[in-house]
Symmetry: C2
């Protein structure tokens, strides 16, 4: 494709995206296609001869777009917050066009250095200690797998070489994200060695239960090596008691990982800095700007106060070669599995500069305010009940009725195409979840969702 | 950012990228900044108040661009082929703006189905069997880690639950990519359990040496579970004898992984289909469209003939829930660690359709032809010697002189800003590497590189 054709097509695509942003309600938020419908609409084999880009873009619009669930729709209130903000998309456009790859510092110095700089800015905004070193992964699941791998080497440094490990056990609450369990399974630690600690009535890990579980494992010859505390759990945004967990973790010289993939962004607001109380004692922490920091997927940040252990876990560079390196020429490949490294930091830098800290904090504060107003409205309705404290931008509630009726309500709301809600199970009951966090969502959208739910859609 | 501001800025960015494509030689291919220079040029903290996008883009151009190594430059002949082709960049623009996330089929049906469709097209183009199931990862390093994890569960299905494994050993040639070793280390298999099998004078794994190593391990109580054969090694593009390796692997019921991250794309040309002879017997295989298939980073494809084992390794969905799923509504999260999934397939679909199979095959054939012409020219020069067979688009050679002189030549060539070369070590000697594969590179660029080298730059 010639530069001039790229220019012409690029302008078309930008116009399409700008129109898309102008009228996000044009498409139903949840796709209505049936399984296999897109596949069946596409040829079974790729073309021998090239085709005109205009036709490809037409097919994109006619065949692909109806099959998309629109994460950028203001009525998207399922799962967690997410936004492809304008500056974020511009950053992705440039990253794609430049195609820089940060394998080593020298393969694109600005990629590596901008990653360090933006993650230092974000660290400051979140109030985390200067000792925290940041690295970007595609997803939090990959990030937490790296954290657990480092924790394992911290507990047993010889294992990296020998492959021989003590009977390791890892701890998280029963409300922790499934990625903790999956990371442990992937690393070969064993699903049965993941201890899911009970939670209290606010869905927060019971610290004495954690302590007891660790003691029991120690008594039976296990080696407790890692605790994952969650700030902002997936179901209810509950907050584990990080300071108490840190006390326990430190007592046993274990690695503490704090999962604040969603909620970490809220700490940008001084009002919600307290969410992260105790997190400064963690050995690692994950926050996902591609959730509540208005960044297009994918961009998940792993911070660690022990970059030395992370490097010891993953580096293949012998010590005698490392000493020749310029200490300011960081090679991220030494700190994880991936070798290739897309220029993800660019979009985050654009977003942080374009909005600035105060505006980002304000948007997050508004989301939390709306969620709390919504929770008050729901609590005031005698037919409904709140099922978990609404401390962040998610409200968990249900109609005082059978699970089936609640399920039917969600299905009918989602079928409107106006709003997309998800659900969770709490105490074995079906609970509706409204999650606020898209930059285009307004208070009106939130209360429209409630109106649809209240009237059974 | 309002849609109208996004439109205005988006047009600016597209124009910048089109101009960048028009005059790629405007920038030195290898960045000339010093370590820390970009960091020092940026503020130590993010701004409180937002800034105008125009100023941010100006800073991008003035501060960031000089710190980039230009992977899209036609003189980029280091490492391996790569290109941010026009249709690929357009695909990334739309993926970023839509912000679709394929956690589950229903969270964006078209994302999941287009990934299946394009990977089926690519599979056909590469001549791989219909039984091969494809999934996209960011990098080949993450992909091979998944393959090794699946191989481990194939060898010892109970280990996933118990975390107890036999004394596993894994095999690759001493020319294999470091990601095999890193994957094994990350998974806890132990660095000393990675056997690096000797290669012949063409840098190909010696199959009898593999067989002997496996026998020796079996005799000493190890459990050989996985062999990685490489088609197109990183240093010399050598090809391991896959059919013989498959014989050995099958005899011991081991998992065979074929790493053709670079060379797999060449199989799109019927002329080079034979590179993959034997690969149809692999349990898994990796090819990186973000190398030689003109796709912007990141897009690495993991194929497996055993998706059942991949799912058994990573899925957290209990069997009784799975039976309720529509078999055509594939949830990729069951097949790996990541939960979030960017719409990477879109760019690949654009590229395959825009160019078509014949043009892609032709470009790859040209790259190989130029490499062979270059090898002939180098071999004809009495001052230089070819150091490995040039079967693909990479030529390994050296001046018949001390390592230091060869190193100095590469440094001087790279300092011109016209060409960027890398090197490798073969038989403990410094070897210059010219790697062809960018879509903008012409035969003239290749011979200009040779001219610079020949005259000591």
């Amino acid at each position: 494709m010639s530069p001039e054709e790229f220019r012409r097509m690029g302008h078309l695509v930008v116009d399409w995206l700008a129109d898309y942003q102008l009228h996000p309600e044009r498409f139903p938020v949840l796709s209505r296609v049936k399984p296999g419908e897109i596949t069946d609409a596409l040829p079974a084999s790729g073309p021998r001869q090239g085709e005109a880009m205009e036709g490809i873009l037409r097919d994109f619009e006619q065949t692909i777009v109806p099959g998309l669930t629109h994460w950028n729709h203001p009525g998207f209130m399922a799962y967690f917050a997410n936004t492809a903000s304008g500056p974020g998309v511009l950053g992705e456009m440039l990253a794609a066009g430049l195609n820089a790859n940060g394998i080593l510092w020298k393969t694109s110095p600005a990629l590596t250095e901008l990653e360090q700089v933006t993650l230092s800015w974000l660290r400051q905004w979140m109030g985390l200690p200067e000792t925290f070193f940041g690295i970007i992964h595609d997803t939090a699941s990959i990030g937490v797998m790296h954290a657990i791998a480092a924790a394992r080497v911290y507990a047993c440094p010889t294992g990296r070489m020998t492959g021989e490990w003590p009977r390791l056990t890892i701890y998280c609450s029963e409300q922790a994200h499934s990625s903790v369990e999956k990371g442990a399974i992937a690393l070969g630690i064993g699903q049965r060695n993941v201890r899911k600690i009970a939670v209290d009535d606010k869905f927060q890990m019971i610290a004495p239960a954690l302590a007891a579980s660790i003691e029991k494992d120690l008594a039976s010859g296990h080696k407790p090596f890692c605790v994952v505390a969650t700030v902002g759990t997936t179901s209810t945004t509950s907050i584990d008691p990080v300071p108490e967990i840190a006390d326990i973790s430190e007592r046993h010289n274990m690695w503490l990982h704090v999962d604040c993939a969603y909620a970490g962004s809220a700490a940008v607001s001084p009002k919600y800095r307290h969410f992260l109380t105790g997190a400064e004692r963690a050995q690692s922490l994950i926050v996902n700007p591609h959730k509540w920091l208005f960044t297009p997927v994918d961009l998940s940040v792993l911070y660690t106060s022990r970059p030395d252990i992370l490097r010891q876990t993953f580096s293949l560079i012998p010590e005698y070669l490392r000493s020749r390196q310029d200490p300011r020429a960081l090679n991220y490949m030494e700190y994880g599995v991936p070798l290739g490294r897309r220029f993800r930091a660019l979009k985050l830098w654009f977003i942080m500069r374009y909005y600035g800290r105060d505006a980002i904090a304000h948007m997050i504060e508004e989301h939390i305010r709306w969620a709390q107003e919504l929770a008050v409205a729901i609590a005031a309705d005698p037919d409904f009940e709140i099922c978990a404290p609404a401390r962040m931008s998610v409200v968990c509630f249900r109609k005082k009725a059978a699970d089936k009726e609640n399920e039917a309500i969600v299905e009918r709301v989602n079928a409107t195409g106006e709003i997309y809600l998800s659900h969770t199970m709490l105490h074995d009951r079906y609970v509706i979840r409204i999650a606020i966090g898209n930059m285009g969502t307004t208070r009106d959208h939130v209360f429209r969702a409630w109106e649809l739910v209240r009237h059974g859609a």
